[in-house]
């Protein structure tokens, strides 16, 4: 039981990060139909720039805030400088552009920062909390709480504000939204900004546990993408559930089967899910108009 709880909590922690990355994917995908492979780079930028700002002597909370703002600026720049000019390009071209952006951001991070691993001090120390025989890092709870707050805030924003309704309208039908006077360009830009901010916060929260370096983005993006697919792309609920499920499956297979094949299990399950339920857990099937 103790073992089970241990795997459960580590799965939940990792899953929360996957969920946030998947949520970022979903936001951008809904607003613009773009699969943003640079999503993992937002996580990397958030964590790594906090580390370096803190090393420069800026107090940690301020450093974290600046890092989030910086990442948001990068997200907005990505949209206006790379995605917007390529409007109307094929899906593959857009994927290639975001991959180019991801390589570019990684290359920049490698020059501006360095190639070493870095960590941040955990918010409430590193003495594990004993619970039911399992040891839980306080930072795990911080990650979970942070993820939960982000999800709730995002939901409030989308569901309760006029701007949020404009986001939904843009996602549902960009042309119709534009016709009723919504500045869809700004809305898509906004979704890139929010998505970058979420990624950055995820990166800052998880760095004390998993460490960070210039190249952590790729695998995170792949897993987040996979989580979004698992939940059914386009569904925010699906992204969160998909992320948590993926994190758990990974932790349990690493614990009970083989840690060597931890990453493999994630992709294997995704293949199986895609074959069995091609629209994901919460995705709606699309009827193709001929």
């Amino acid at each position: 039981m103790a073992e089970f709880l241990q795997f459960f909590f580590s799965g939940l922690t990792v899953g929360a990060v996957y969920a946030l990355v998947a949520l970022g994917f979903t936001l951008i995908y809904n607003a613009s139909d773009v699969i943003n492979f640079a999503q993992g780079e937002f996580v990397m930028l958030g964590g790594l720039s906090t580390v370096f700002l803190a090393m420069a002597g800026i107090p940690l909370p301020l450093a974290a805030l600046l890092a989030v703002l910086l990442t948001i600026a990068v997200g907005i720049a990505l949209y206006y400088l790379a995605i917007e000019p390529a409007r109307g390009a094929s899906a593959v071209s857009l994927i290639m552009i975001t991959i180019g952006a991801s390589i570019f951001l990684r290359g920049t991070a490698q020059v501006v920062f360095d190639k070493r691993f870095h960590s941040l001090p955990p918010l409430f120390g590193s003495d594990p909390i004993r619970w039911g025989g399992a040891a839980i890092l306080p930072q795990s709870l911080v990650v979970l709480a942070g993820a939960a707050i982000i999800v709730v805030l995002l939901w409030l924003f989308i569901d309760r504000t006029l701007l949020g309704k404009a986001v939904i309208a843009t996602a549902a039908n960009r042309l119709a939204a534009w016709l009723v006077g919504i500045n869809t360009r700004q809305i898509v830009g906004l979704s890139f900004a929010v998505s970058a901010g979420i990624g950055a916060i995820a990166g800052i929260l998880v760095t004390p546990i998993t460490l960070t370096s210039y190249d952590v983005g790729t695998l995170l993006a792949l897993k987040g993408f996979a989580a979004a697919m698992l939940g059914g792309i386009g569904s925010a609920l699906g992204a969160v559930v998909g992320g948590l499920v993926l994190g758990m499956l990974e932790a349990f297979s690493a614990g009970y089967v083989s840690s060597k094949y931890k990453d493999a299990v994630a992709f294997l399950i995704i293949l199986i899910v895609l074959f069995a339920i091609p629209n994901g857990l919460f995705g709606r099937g699309k009827v193709e108009r001929v």
């Binding site: 899906a91 390589i103 290359g107 792949l222 992709f267 294997l268």
Partner: protein, 314 residues
Amino acid sequence: MREPASHRLALLGALAVVIVLMPLIFPSAYYYRVGALVFIFALAAVGLNLLMGFAGQVSLGHAGFLGIGGYAMAIGPVHLGVPPWASLLAGAVISAVVAFIVGRPILRLKGHYLAVATLGLGVLIAIVLTNEASWTGGPDGMSVPRLVLFDWAVRGSQQWYWISAATFLVGAILAFNVIDSPTGRALRAIHDSEVAASVLGVDVARGKLAIFVISAVYASVAGSYLALINGHVTPDIAGFLRSIELAAMVVLGGMGSILGSLVGAAVLVVLPQTLTILHDYEHLVLGLILMGVMIFLRQGIVPSLAAAVSGRQT
């Protein structure tokens, strides 16, 4: 955009002339090596182009087949005592079988789902190659015995340049034949509209599967060559970034253009070689170029240039 049949012979002839003349301006053996790498990657890109450009099916996992071909060249001779030429064949057969088995369920998926499924397949192959250390040497990889054909040991970049160039030409000719075959016509119909094609009686699933298997074999053969020319193979050959690189070659050069695949491969092979001068800035510049080309030459280099040239004539 696509090479018309009447131009193909001229195109292949011109290519052959270029291949023969290029060495005249090569200052050192190193250039032969880069040339060989260009043709090897172009071969894989041509195969992938059949899938992406003609059948309209994206694959972000084709490096997995590159890996199968590459490791066949190492595992065959080292562990099983299979001669290299038979290992190359075995790699191609294994790739074809893997593609055949996973192809049907994978190709049923569309768009982004297809992208993630192929991506998952490629990553899985890379993970297996990394973890089965007793067979593959793990993350450090393993060395590949030299190719010996009829007591003639193939060595040196010069020989590989000619062999790769010849293989690429054969691959291009076969690709043209595939395009013109009934399956090829069916594929183009699938690309334009899957529904319309199936209404007309095209077996969409079979057509897509056939081209997936063919493209896997192209990648596998290219992987085997890559392993032989490097004399060493590591799991990186099957990695996600390699898959992206292959897809980028196709898109960069121009989807549906065989010549484009060669140009795309040339750009993405030669560029990093020259960028090593820039040391740490290599990735930064590479990412910028990839974004720039995709934004400003949306159709890919060759079709965009062709359109510009023909636009000027009229």
